[in-house]
Amino acid sequence: MSTRRDFMGMALGGFTALGAVGGLYAAKRTWDPLPSVKAAGFTTLDLKDYKEGELVTEKWRGKPIFVLKQTKEMMAKATEKDKKRLIEVDGAHYMVCVGLCTHLGCIPGYRKDTQDFLCACHGGMYDATADVTKAPPPRGLDIPPFKLNGTKIALGVTGPEYEKMLADGTTLRV
């Protein structure tokens, strides 16, 4: 009978399956972002350099970061929910967000006269604190992990202020 052949078949099949699982894991790991890519993921900005009402685009992990120091007018318009999105340093309020639409990742354009953002791809809109005002985006612009140190802000590190934003649902983890 073929019991010895069966054994050979099962032994080969078993080791092949084992090798296939190992191979799949190796393939998955090969496609992971490289350690050097991960290590380059920090940016430090000095918030005292920014002017009120002027949008500045910085770069963090290859993504655009919007920094907008809020004017008095903007603060008057902002709701309590909006204000939670802002970072307060020395009495001034800053909007610091990843400048990618939460719908599919285009960069919304800032319209200075209306003080809001419009995404050209699918027509989503955001106010001056980058909270969403018109669908399809499901939520306001995401806030990157940050840690404050005086007037300096380090992006990519999670500080207590950011943890609070995560806890009360102001932003999702980026």
Binding site: K28, W31, D32, K59, L104, V174
Partner: protein, 404 residues
């Protein structure tokens, strides 16, 4: 060992060692094609020829293309286009071919739907054909990344973001696909690999499989007539060519194919030499810039209909709608409940369904190109809803269809 004798010709020498005569009989002279067909039956060979042309032009582009984020744009737009002798020719053939291959795929698909060529044993032909559609889509998308212009970058950004699954917020998966937080070197290299090696290999395998699925159920005909192929083949072999309902694939049917291909390639090379710009988006002649989105992002024309199904809805609904639209055509052999294999014009309500679907997809295509504002948004939304309504209606109207 087989009987090897002194061969009198090269053909005989090969036949003794490779059975080339048997091979020729099985694949060509005794592979039977119905007579009752029209030029739309040539689209399969037109597609095969276009794929061949894409492969050859791609090989020449590969010799100077440089898959690095610093050099890719210049290697295409400077080196290949201005320095390499006839480099522009390969690029324009490749660009025009990528566009036309989808035009022919859509004609091929709608021919199959019109004549019911996915029914009664022909399900696998349809399914393997749809698999090829998906593979060609992936091939087109990965190739679109390579010139590393603004449209490449932002299409890469938007399409990979689809994999975050909306509210699932699977950013880890998106970063894994890109190998970075944004499309960068790792992303370009892996899509280059997919475009020039893995996907073409899989496509060639799928084409062979697609041909294989045709063998047993045979090609459909203009009346959906179910006749005995063996009987018809015997008649033909006995010299009663007029009475027989079939002809051999090669050289008889192939000569018809070659005629259609001749007309097709006149159009093809007219476009290559005089109107290549329709396949070259002007926005992609700006180098990729991760800090500046083009004001209006849209895919190539062949993806516009499914893009328009995504666009009018909120993120989650849009993603689900888009995912369904991508795979819904796979289900047509199972959603069509009618036993009739016949052209749509003899199938009552299905005739209406066919043209409604075709027109709706054309409307979606045009709306996908227009900015998402005002009346265009509304028309797009209605067309997207009609698309899904038609698929829900398909099993109902085909179930009540009278048997012919």
């Amino acid at each position: 060992m087989a009987r090897i004798e002194n061969a009198k010709s090269i053909g005989e020498w090969l036949d003794q060692r490779l059975a080339v005569q048997t091979l020729k009989r099985v694949l060509q002279t005794e592979y039977w094609i119905p007579k009752n067909i029209n030029f739309l039956w040539a689209m399969g060979m037109v597609l095969a020829a276009t794929f061949g042309i894409l492969l050859v032009s791609g090989i020449f582009l590969l010799m100077y293309y440089n898959p690095s984020t610093d050099l890719a744009f210049d290697s295409v737009n400077y080196t290949i286009m201005t320095e390499v002798g006839y480099g522009w020719l390969w690029r324009h053939i490749h660009g025009v071919g990528a566009s036309l291959v989808f035009l022919i795929i859509y004609i091929h698909m709608f021919t199959g739907i019109y004549y019911g060529s996915y029914k009664k044993g022909r399900e696998l032909i349809w399914l393997s054909g749809m698999l090829l559609y998906v593979l060609f889509s992936a091939e087109a998308f990965s190739g679109y990344m390579l010139p590393w212009g603004q449209m490449s970058y932002w299409a890469g950004m938007v399409i990979t973001n689809l994999f975050s699954g909306g509210s699932l917020h699977a950013d880890g998966l998106v970063e894994w696909i890109r190998g970075d937080y944004v499309p960068a070197q790792a992303f370009l290299s892996r899509f280059f690999m997919l475009h020039v090696l893995l996907l073409p290999l899989v496509i060639i395998g799928a084409i062979v499989f697609h041909f294989g699925t045709l063998r047993i159920p045979h090609v459909n005909n203009q009346d959906g007539e179910d006749f005995d192929f063996n009987e018809a083949a015997e008649l033909y072999k006995n010299g009663q060519k007029k009475e027989s309902k079939v002809i051999p694939f090669s050289p008889v049917f192939l000569s018809k194919d070659v005629f259609v291909m001749g007309i097709y390639f006149v159009l093809f090379f007219y476009l290559v030499f005089y109107h290549f710009e329709f396949a070259m988006d002007p926005v992609n002649f700006d180098p990729a810039d991760g800090l500046k989105t083009p004001t209006h992002i849209y895919p190539e024309w062949y993806f516009l209909w499914s893009y328009e199904v995504l666009r009018p809805f909120s993120t989650n609904v849009g993603l689900i709608a888009f995912a369904i639209a991508q795979v819904i055509f796979f289900t047509i052999p199972f959603l069509d409940r009618s036993p009739n294999v016949a052209p749509a014009n003899r199938r009552g309500l299905f005739h209406l369904w066919f043209w409604a679907m075709l027109v709706d997809m054309l409307v979606l295509t045009f709306m996908g190109k227009l900015p998402p504002q005002g009346i265009w948004s509304t028309i797009g939304l209605v067309a997207a809803l009609v698309f899904f309504a038609l698929w829900i209606a398909l099993p109902i109207i085909t179930k009540s269809e009278k048997k012919l």
